[in-house]
């Protein structure tokens, strides 16, 4: 059902429209990466003027929910906007500054024991089971990002059954399981692709790639370690920090 503008309401029309669009984004009806309707379509959908639509959209761009792409349109950029320090809440937000439209293939979702230094990385004993998720993100048909995530099984056993193709892991942690992300530690480095990684990303073995390792904390608990390798040819990264008002 389409929520309409209430003309009896004394709130400004653009603010009402802004609120409706924000709900669609935050509720996932308009997912991250999708293009929003054109100004003309929004005018028709909500029976408002072009000026009202433009003001609402501009405000949502300013707030970080939408991003305009020259010659392409306006896209959903974030589903939540944090206050205080602008914390990275999605891999997409960190790595896909310009690559908004992409899909994700789940290459593996299984359970394993920690090998090599995984127990130390996850701060668990070596006899604990881990959920292992391997995903490939694509822009169009081009593979761009290979991510391997490791989550202690006891933290979120139901993750084995969730729809992780369409919902980000962090969204599931926060919205479904109530695991609030309080800290993300990021390391960015250069990696040389293994034969398997190269095959998946369509690059020769030992090609240089961007390596991002991330440690996700909720309070004192480290609940996920992620290793991501990205093709270097379209790399762009931006991190915004905002000082919280004292």
């Amino acid at each position: 059902m389409i929520e309409l503008i209430d003309r009896e309401n004394h709130q400004k029309l653009y603010l009402q429209l802004l609120s409706i669009i924000k709900k669609k984004i935050e509720g996932g009806e308009w997912p991250i990466g999708t293009q929003i309707p054109t100004e003309e379509d929004l005018c028709k959908m909500f029976a408002v003027s072009r000026a009202t639509v433009r003001t609402a959209v501009l405000e949502l761009v300013r707030e970080g929910y939408l991003k305009r792409q020259q010659g392409k349109g306006t896209f959903i950029y974030k589903s939540t906007v944090s206050d205080g320090i602008a914390m990275v809440t999605s891999f997409k937000e960190l790595l896909f500054e310009e690559d908004l439209i992409f899909s994700t293939d789940i290459l593996a979702r299984t359970v394993m024991m920690p090998v090599d230094d995984l127990d130390a990385r996850l701060n668990i004993t070596p006899n604990k089971h881990i959920i292992y998720i391997k995903r490939l993100s694509l822009t169009g048909n081009e593979p761009v990002l290979l991510q391997e995530s490791y989550i202690p099984y006891h933290i979120c056993p139901l993750l084995l059954e969730d729809d992780i193709e369409n919902i980000s892991l962090l969204e599931l942690f926060e919205k479904k399981y109530g695991i609030r992300i309080t800290r993300v530690r990021n390391h960015i480095d250069i990696a040389y692709l293994s034969a398997d990684e190269g095959r998946i990303l369509g690059l020769p073995e030992n090609s240089a790639a961007i390596l991002l390792t991330q440690y996700f904390h909720s309070g004192e608990t480290l609940f996920m370690y992620t290793r991501s390798v990205k093709r270097p040819d379209r790399f762009q990264i931006s991190i915004e920090l905002e000082r919280k008002a004292i």
Binding site: A108, R109, V111, M113
Partner: protein, 173 residues
């Protein structure tokens, strides 16, 4: 003979055993055995690792015997002199020395999928324990997976529980 018990009455949870994906190497599996069983002084019967595919379907089991066989391919071959110790003790000592030496480290890098016992036999939660006993004895298995609707892996039946259940009935009767 089994007090009417079914698989779900005697099965144990799958997390009693370590899990690995099929692409793990034998050496990685060895480290898991050491950490999960030997260092932890935990000796379940059988001592085994469960091997899964990328969609978390059970592919097979890996016992200590499977691992040792995988590290020494001569064990996979038909009878050799090394397996007939009565013949010539002095010569055999040389043969024993060559076991687990030549190429063993290279073999340890093979994926576990090449040496595991594939999981082809299973029972449903409502199947009688006698069926599980039959499958174990007939196929020389140490564990039988319990699958719900032939798909969801919900537990394991081991020989100890099967034995206990069947022998109880024997003694009582």
């Amino acid at each position: 003979m089994s007090n009417g018990k079914v698989a779900k009455d005697v099965m144990i949870g799958i997390f009693e055993y370590p899990h690995v994906p099929y692409w793990f190497s034998i050496s990685q599996a060895i480290r898991i055995v050491k950490v999960s069983f030997i260092s932890a002084k935990k000796y379940p019967d059988p001592m085994a690792i469960l091997v899964f595919d990328e969609k978390y379907n059970l592919m097979g089991t890996l016992t200590l015997k499977d691992i040792l066989k995988g590290l020494e391919p001569r064990f996979m071959k038909p009878t050799t002199k090394a397996q007939v110790p009565a013949e010539d003790e002095s010569g055999l000592s040389l043969i024993w020395d060559t076991l687990f030496t030549q190429g063993t480290k290279e073999l340890a890098e093979k994926p576990v999928s090449e040496i595991m016992t594939p999981a082809k036999q299973f029972v449903e939660p409502g199947d009688p324990v006698t069926k599980a006993a039959y499958l174990m004895l007939h196929n020389d298995l140490v564990l039988v997976p319990v699958l719900e609707d032939k798909k969801k892996f919900v537990g394991l039946v081991r020989m100890i529980e099967i034995f206990d259940s069947i022998s109880d009935a024997v003694i009582k009767e």
